[in-house]
Symmetry: C2
Subunit: 392 residues, 2 copies
């Protein structure tokens, strides 16, 4: 096992961020994946914020969604232009208060932000895995997170928190390691993708795999399938927004005020926005990771994987207290899906709080500043923390 | 001007279909498009069904949507495997009864099913236009239909009928030629695309234009941008369905019953369906026509083009009686858009009937068998027909 702590830039410690990696399953070790395939070594990139307390009872694990990474919040240095992806929620005095809690966030297995994924070196060939990387599941992703917590000597999580595909990991945690999870916070998520959600992912995957540069996933030494990945991102972006959000943000506004250009350039502002989002994404994301993470999300099916096709059965052993939040304009994982999940949890007598927040911004709502969401999470964590302390 | 009547196959006259073409604006003539560009000659492919009556008072013009053509209904011959695209609605004894009415349907300008479009020969070069074809609008499309009716000596339409982009043409007809249109039937349509609708079209266009075979639209002598067009079609298909329809039709059913394949082949039935729809579409449709027709739809904006940004003003001169139908699960052109349109029409004191039909099948609902829709259209046409006769 190796561990590397990135030095503070010029000694500046901004926002309590610590960036680390942990490598395990090194030869001759391997881990066995849900598919039966074996994988090792596995490196996990993770960050922590805040300080762990003496009895390690203040640990919160945050799980990121498709395009996230371990850099959940804070700045690395004073001239760092951008904070982590959930800086509106996580930090000193925020919804998830890093003055109180010790936050851990790791990049998912199959990702491309430091954790082992298809762009990592395949020890069998000395070259990037590409499609030789095994298809992983949400269960496999969580298994790797569990390995990280074991390594850190953390036996219990005050909370696991995540939205979208991050929320799937939270559900998996609560089911697979019931003794370790005191509470679970599920945001804009689902127990299984609808055919609609699978379709949009599949269109993205098709765009990538039919890009002539894709080369069966073996593109790391040449031109990349940027066009396909950009298209996939554009499709994704539209599904993360809502009719109303797009109307407010763009409507039919033109790039050139009053003039239709009568050509196929970006004429409407929304066209230009999508092209920009697509081109920006290819600079930071690996197309193969898009394939693997979306496939893991499509495969996720709580009833199928844990309850002989019954979600009620799948939730039977959960011990975590649960907070579930959905958003009115989220049409990718609509409220009815959260409601069904909550019903199945209640049939098991679980301690579940559920709230549908009125929001116009679609699936992305959980990532955006939302006082109601922050307050609800903050109070829920406070309650669980007190109850856990009293129970000792 | 030239005209060609396709002979009946083996003398079989099935379903009253007549297939014809009409060419106009032949040199030195040209028509002036909304962009200011000039175009000519223009060939229009159209079909008729039923018989025109002596006073030509039973003529119904049907306008098709993105992927339609002039073959609206009926079979060409007894061994013709497939009828026209709206055979559930149009034919003897059907909602639009060709025993009573004389139906005309023409392929749109910019299309690829017989009417002049980007795949037609550019007289300036002797080669297909490609992107040298001018960007056309819904107004231009309707102008060409008007030219066809003039040629046929038809001065008044009992009704203009269309769904989706076809509905846009109906609105345009009622506004631009108010004296010619006794009634207008608008199905699952909108007066202007939302940012969401523009986005999905733009993603389709980007898929086509970034296909390496696109070659700036000049691909007719070589490999075609099939991959891009297939992707565009997949995106379109998802937007024409609904969450509920896809759940009923596919859910999470797997190709191989119980087994996840742990690879990137089509695993879920919905994935296989989308791939099939994409590959089928490229056999019959021209990628450039996809660009031009979606652009015409995105540009369509009734208030902007006819009413100084006011739809109330745009509708001021309409004389047609109007029937508008929207569908509950249509999230591409949601009911609120039809409702806004109806409000603006009512402010002008127009004779408007509006109905939102409960349907789970999304935007495509207007194309599918629906007794309520058929009955409503049938009765509306009967009423208008009687009122027109009485008014003589």
């Amino acid at each position: 096992m190796s561990e590397y702590i990135e030095p503070d830039r010029d000694g500046i410690s901004v926002g309590q961020v610590e960036k680390k990696i942990h490598t395990f399953a090194e030869p001759p070790l391997e881990i066995v994946l849900e598919s039966g395939a074996r994988l090792g070594p596995i490196t996990v990139a993770y960050e922590t914020m805040g300080a762990i307390n003496a009895d390690k009872s203040n640990v919160i694990l945050i799980a990121h969604a498709l395009s996230g990474d371990s850099h959940v919040a804070g700045y690395y240095s004073e001239d760092d232009p951008k904070p982590g992806w959930w800086d509106t929620m996580v930090g000193p005095g925020k919804g998830i208060d890093t003055n109180k809690y010790f936050v851990i966030c790791s990049n998912v297995l199959g990702g491309c932000m430091g954790t082992t994924g298809p762009s990592s070196e395949n020890p069998a060939t000395g070259r990037p895995y590409g499609l030789a990387f095994p298809v992983v599941t949400i269960g496999d992703i969580v298994k790797v997170q569990k390995e990280l917590l074991d390594h850190l000597g953390i036996a219990k999580l005050l909370a696991v928190v995540g939205g979208s595909i991050g929320g799937m990991q939270v559900i998996e945690w609560a089911i697979s390691y019931p003794e370790m999870v005191a509470s679970a916070i599920l945001l804009a998520t689902t127990t299984r993708h609808s055919a609609l959600a699978i379709s949009f992912n599949e269109i993205g995957r098709q765009a990538i795999m039919s890009d002539p540069n894709f080369n069966k996933g073996d593109y790391y030494s040449g031109a990349k399938p940027d066009i396909g990945l950009a298209l996939a991102r554009m499709v994704g972006h539209v599904t993360y927004l809502s009719d109303e959000a797009m109307r407010d943000k763009f409507g039919r506004r033109l790039q050139d005020r009053d003039n239709l250009s009568f050509d196929f350039d970006a004429n409407f502002q929304v066209e230009s926005y999508l092209r920009y989002q697509g081109s920006k994404f290819v600079e930071r994301f690996d197309a193969n990771s898009f394939l693997y993470i979306t496939k893991a999300a499509d495969y996720f099916d709580v009833g199928r994987q844990h309850g002989h096709d019954s979600e009620v059965e799948a939730f039977a052993n959960i011990k975590a207290k649960i907070l579930t939040i959905s958003f009115t304009s989220d049409w990718l994982y609509p409220t009815y899906q959260s409601r069904d999940m909550v019903k199945a949890m209640k049939k098991n007598g679980l301690d579940v709080s559920f709230c549908e927040i009125e929001a116009t911004c679609g699936h992305d709502a959980f990532l955006l500043p939302n006082e109601r969401q922050s307050t609800m999470i903050n109070r829920f964590l406070k309650r669980v923390s007190e109850e856990e302390t009293n129970a000792l």
